[in-house]
């Protein structure tokens, strides 16, 4: 048999039909659904008298525009149109008989955090969701794609996706990371090197010692941002850490089925002599704690660097960099560590898991948020929140002066009331720094949870290593 990559293996195991021209129907094992990109898809099913083909493989949770304030059970905390979307999901989940975690359920949270937490996401699966950060699930060695609403409807109706196979790209991070450097710094640094279009048309497999050393949560952070690098999916081969994470989760297999699953999962790796269409290698020790300075996730620099000027770039990037600098209100040559912030947001599907909160708490313990800084922590799920309370992290956050919220997407995309005002500058652990992403005119700097915590204390972008 010819050597295969991990992507090749998962792909081959899911082709339900292949047309002469190479167009395939890829069978989908898990379909995750949220309130923003699904109403039109369910409406489409109703209009055509179609049903959900595999309701047992379909899981829904509202997350994008639910409020995260403690009083959210009060319907008045939601705008009319948000409420209509959430109610539509309530109704669609019931009418079509799919698994559902309503806002009132402690297991509710960001769809990409809930899936792994509940054991829905398992190695070797195909996972889709009407959300680009579905790439997160690739951390389990699952082929996970973001899809549009028409495709959501297509998967609901047929449990397949019309696909052509992408190309294979290997991103290897060799050696060890230095202290203070995290999964977020890896994934941002990779985008800094490849650019936001570098992965277009590829499925990325992340490998190398620094990736193997990461926990499952760190791996999810890395794969989460594969999409910011242009790749539709990111993958990490499953290993003992993966199996240990999955074991005992509510929807993971048990007993003999577990053994059978494990036997197959252990075959899920790229063969030594597999063919790669593109290879990118970074040395773990070369990666520094980074922040973004501009309005594209590729605008990444070590925290020790200065704000660049447009003339540092070439081609279309010259104008884009100038536009970014204007929008961000930054002067070239300013040390990034002198840039003052107004707000800190710790949360999102990139960095809203328990280890992220632990990392932030380690920096915040016994410290105070600088006067005048608005700081909030939004756990990725109700269960993450409960665990953080049990571990005493919530007390650390509250004593430091952080708002301690309920689970949801919150200020990652600011569809709920958590938004930046024009000109407000935010240290954020989310994944997109686009113009207006966190609120019209809002200025976003992306970084790791530890870096965001450090910024909350000093009121500036800060090198977390100085606080360790």
């Amino acid at each position: 048999m010819s050597p295969k990559t991990l992507y090749d293996k998962i792909w081959d195991a899911h082709v339900a039909h292949e047309a002469d021209d190479g167009t395939c129907l890829l069978y989908i094992d898990r379909h995750l659904v949220h309130e923003v990109t699904s109403p039109q898809a369910f409406e489409g099913l109703r209009m055509t008298n179609r049903t959900v083909r595999a309701p047992d493989k379909t899981i829904a949770v509202p997350d994008h525009n639910v409020p995260t304030t403690l009083d959210r059970a009060n319907a008045a905390t939601m705008t009319e149109d948000s409420r209509i979307q959430v109610e539509a999901l309530d109704k669609n989940a019931k009418d079509f008989g799919i698994h559902y975690y309503p806002v009132s359920d402690v297991r509710q949270g960001i769809v990409h955090i809930v899936g792994p937490e509940q054991g829905w996401t398992l190695p070797g699966m195909t996972v889709v969701c009407g959300d680009s950060h579905t790439a997160t699930h690739g951390a389990f060695g699952a082929l996970a794609h973001g899809i549009g609403t028409s495709e959501v409807e297509h998967v609901l109706a047929t449990q397949t996706l019309i696909q052509r196979k992408g190309k294979n790209m290997k991103v290897e991070i060799t050696g060890k990371l230095r202290p203070g450097v995290t999964a977020k710094d890896i994934t941002l640094s990779v985008i800094g090197v490849t650019g936001t279009a570098g992965g277009t048309g590829y499925v990325i497999e992340y490998c190398g010692e620094a990736i193997r050393d990461l926990s499952m949560e760190g791996r999810m952070t890395v794969c989460n941002m594969a999409i910011e690098g242009g790749a539709r999916a990111g993958l990490i081969a499953p290993d003992e850490k993966t199996f240990e994470y999955c074991m005992g989760r509510p929807h993971a297999p048990k007993g003999a089925q577990w053994e059978a699953a494990l036997a197959w999962w252990k075959t899920l790796y790229s063969d030594d002599d597999a063919h790669w269409d593109k290879v990118v290698t970074l040395k773990g020790e070369d990666i520094a704690p980074v922040v973004t300075w501009g309005t594209s996730p590729e605008d990444v620099l070590p925290i020790t660097a200065n704000v660049p000027s447009a003339s540092d770039f070439t081609g279309g990037k010259v104008d884009a960099a100038q536009r970014s600098l204007d929008y961000m209100g930054l002067t070239p040559g300013t040390p990034l560590s002198d840039v003052e912030i107004d707000t800190v947001f710790i949360g999102s599907c990139t960095n809203g898991r328990i280890e992220d909160l632990r990392a932030a708490a380690a920096i915040l313990k016994g410290k105070k948020v600088k006067d005048g800084i608005r700081a909030m922590i939004v756990p990725g799920s109700g269960l993450v929140r409960a665990q953080a309370e049990e571990e005493g992290l919530a007390d650390i956050f509250k004593e430091a002066g952080f708002e301690w919220r309920l689970a949801g997407c919150s200020m990652c995309l600011a569809m709920n009331p958590d938004q930046l005002s024009p000109g407000e500058r935010c240290a954020a652990t989310s994944n997109r720094n686009f113009e207006g992403r966190q609120g019209r005119g809002g200025r976003t700097h992306l970084m790791s949870p530890a870096m965001a915590a450090a910024a909350a204390i000093t009121g500036k972008l800060t090198d977390v290593r100085e606080m360790m």
Binding site: L25, V36, G148, S150, A157, A261, W264, R440
Partner: protein, 201 residues
């Protein structure tokens, strides 16, 4: 789905790279449960000021571009979120074709599901079309999907690539789901086999 065969229309120049889906349709407009009506909010934050007044400098606000049917843009168009609201807004405005050196993957796919033709052309050719588009209503760009060509009013013709299946669906206005359902036997067979080999799924 609306068919796409030929189009001759006004092309608007947007010479920016990395035009993301948050720019195309900001999140506050994602709260709809319908597919229609998003055209007025296309490029909302570039198109209107804080009071909701049109910003006259923005290309689609200029008199000669109000009837734009073709958008000419920079590299990596449509990057960012998977929101299909982006192509819905583009279509609702009346734009049926976007030409750029490259597209983000999910956006590219979403276009075909909505009767929009995204065309990737080499940078030099996009540069020529960008110049052409700057002439405004005096220059109509012609797109022929069957022949896979884009032509300028000066008679320059550029050929483009498009996946044969996607082309077929767009030309005929076919519904993907209906087509896939014709292959239900294959899906049934796959499921039966998977129940044996991967029963835990």
């Amino acid at each position: 789905m609306e068919k796409f065969e030929k189009l001759s229309g006004i092309a608007a120049p947007m010479p920016m790279i990395n035009i993301d889906t948050d720019m195309i349709i900001p999140k506050q407009f994602l709260k709809t449960i319908k597919r229609s009506g998003l055209g007025v909010n296309l490029f909302d934050e570039m198109r209107y000021d804080d009071d909701g007044n049109e910003i006259p400098d923005f290309v689609l606000n200029k008199p000669q571009y109000r009837e734009t049917q073709i958008l000419i843009a920079g590299d990596n168009f449509g990057c960012g979120s998977s929101r299909e609201h982006a192509p819905w807004a583009i279509k609702d405005f009346g734009i049926r074709c976007v030409i750029a050196p490259s597209f983000a993957d999910i956006f590219y796919n979403n276009c075909f599901k909505n009767g929009i033709l995204p065309i990737a052309l080499p940078q030099e050719q996009v540069d020529i079309l960008m110049k052409e588009a700057e002439k405004g209503a005096n220059a109509r760009v012609e797109v022929d999907l069957e022949a896979q060509t884009v032509s300028t009013s000066d008679g320059e013709v550029f050929a483009f690539e498009v996946d044969a299946f996607k082309k077929h669906c767009l030309l005929e206005g076919l519904d993907d789901i209906g087509l896939t359902m014709e292959k239900a036997a294959s899906i049934d067979a796959f499921e039966t086999k998977a129940e044996q080999t991967r029963p835990w799924v």
